[in-house]
Symmetry: C2
Subunit: 371 residues, 2 copies
Amino acid sequence: MRLADLPTPCLVLERGILQRNLDAMARAVARHGVTLRPHMKTAKSMDVARLALANPLGPSQGITVSTLAEAEYFFGHGITDILYAVGITPQKLEQVTQLNAAGAVITVLTDDADMAGLIAEHAHPPRALVEVDCGEHRGGVQPEDPALLDLAMRLGRSFAGVLTHAGQSYLGRSVADMQAMARGECAAAVDAATRLRAAGLDCPIVSMGSSPTALYAEALDGITELRAGVYMLGDLFQAEIGTHALDDIAVTVLTSVIGRRPAEGRVLVDAGGLALSKDRSTEAAPHDWAYGRVLDIGGQPSLGHTLVRRAYQEHGVVELDPALPAPDLPIGAKLRIAPNHVCMTAAAHDRYFVVDGTDTVTAIWPRINGW
Amino acid sequence: MRLADLPTPCLVLERGILQRNLDAMARAVARHGVTLRPHMKTAKSMDVARLALANPLGPSQGITVSTLAEAEYFFGHGITDILYAVGITPQKLEQVTQLNAAGAVITVLTDDADMAGLIAEHAHPPRALVEVDCGEHRGGVQPEDPALLDLAMRLGRSFAGVLTHAGQSYLGRSVADMQAMARGECAAAVDAATRLRAAGLDCPIVSMGSSPTALYAEALDGITELRAGVYMLGDLFQAEIGTHALDDIAVTVLTSVIGRRPAEGRVLVDAGGLALSKDRSTEAAPHDWAYGRVLDIGGQPSLGHTLVRRAYQEHGVVELDPALPAPDLPIGAKLRIAPNHVCMTAAAHDRYFVVDGTDTVTAIWPRINGW
């Protein structure tokens, strides 16, 4: 099967780029002697998880997930050590304990005193981390807040450590920014662990993570594990903030030309808001890629600065680079679109068509979507 | 099963509101004596299609779809008369003709001379419509463009009529705006048909449609069928532009509270950018609903002006109405979120949990997503 034969729109995964991204993260993590706990919320694929875990510089055992559907899927494929890194609820605690009863070892997360009590009182309590806010101000307690100790105490024997997520690293725009964010995240996590230990609690897990801080941290003393996910596949936003280069984007949407307006310098393609997502994160980036960067079927930027300017449900309006001669794009011609935010784009698709630098599809890897 | 027991996030469909919306469209269409060809791109459900086709004022036979996955699904459930209303490509023409060989009667769409030739030359050519641009400037030829006649001639015996889509009606903000858009769309479609007939061609189908123009058209002389889809379910954007009222939104996302920040007047919920979509269409509407309007578990606006202010992959940041006393929302409490753009939001979910004004789930209706 060749790319030109695939039904469109669909997801194409370049295996060589994926491996390069995995290797870059493996080197970054190995510098610090910490464990990588890959976050599977981006790739949502067992085939990718196998590669992400098989780090030759220090294999990982456990993964991070963002939904219980992911937890169930990866457990069903043999991964037992799973961190569910979204605040747990009473109902989801029941789902987790059922999976744990079947052999999984799912660790949960909370920043809520009542919920901590419910976890501790459960007949089969899972391990739990306390979420610490390192500056994103989405969830978590401040490292200096007395609530931190209260939460850990309430969790009792379930308490296993602390977790931070530097979502604010997405506001960084330079290596110096990312290094500063990583220092701040590391300090928040380690400060929290230090306070808990000073109070006599064991705090074996000190988990931090985001792709930018994992890649750019200069020192991680006191951190036990790093979580990151988007680094595997990459996207335009991550390229804009410097996590990787533009040609490190491993996933693109294959699309077909469905209409031509040569006088207006544009074509219509069959990748619209559903196939690409309506994510507009690059709006706030140094360069705004609209709804995506258009590449040729080989994944190369031979079309210059060609963008998906508008996205309807199933139609994308592609503006061709006016500085280049009009390309030959008959109806049915195939293009590839690098996404703004790969977590959002990939979630509309149920599989990856895997290639490796050629137009031959070497594998089809399923994804687990939904909840 | 009750709403409070459902895993979150998930889609809730209020059957009574759906039926009210179907009835409103049935009355609107019946005024003109035209046929409604429901567009299933929004609901993507056979259960909804059955209700949409069973219009007591004049049942419909055929549907409209936006993907060949929808075409295959609905044909598999017994619907044969299907209009695939997105520009056809050579590869998709093969898929269509295979379904037609199996008994479907799929009509295709084009505005491209080369593609029209390929359709006509096919061993088993499907019926085809020529897309006419009525002012949206996305696809289609102008009604007065000589290319219109050329396309119809090239299609030969495949030629079955013309089609317009007034996507620009989404820019309307009043009944008068919608009436003007409908007049413009109707005029473009009928002008095109008139020109083709004057040239000696038969033009049996004159198809127009968008929910706003279908609902607000004052006269549709010369139109043979109306296409509309979003009217079935409704959303905040359609409410803002006046297609329906806020309490006509039939689909909401059920979500659970996963974090609390009372000092900041907000809670975190487990419906983020994936469960809600990143659609921000109400940004351009009279009222900007951010990432969605938050209702109580009964679907009522008892929380006042409470919004999803930010949407991460699996986290939604809910800003509570500061004018109301802080509601009692422990971890696990359930809320419902009315979406900005239901076509985008629903596509992240694989089923509807159907209720009818109570908290009892009376049915589960699957959806067909993807391509």
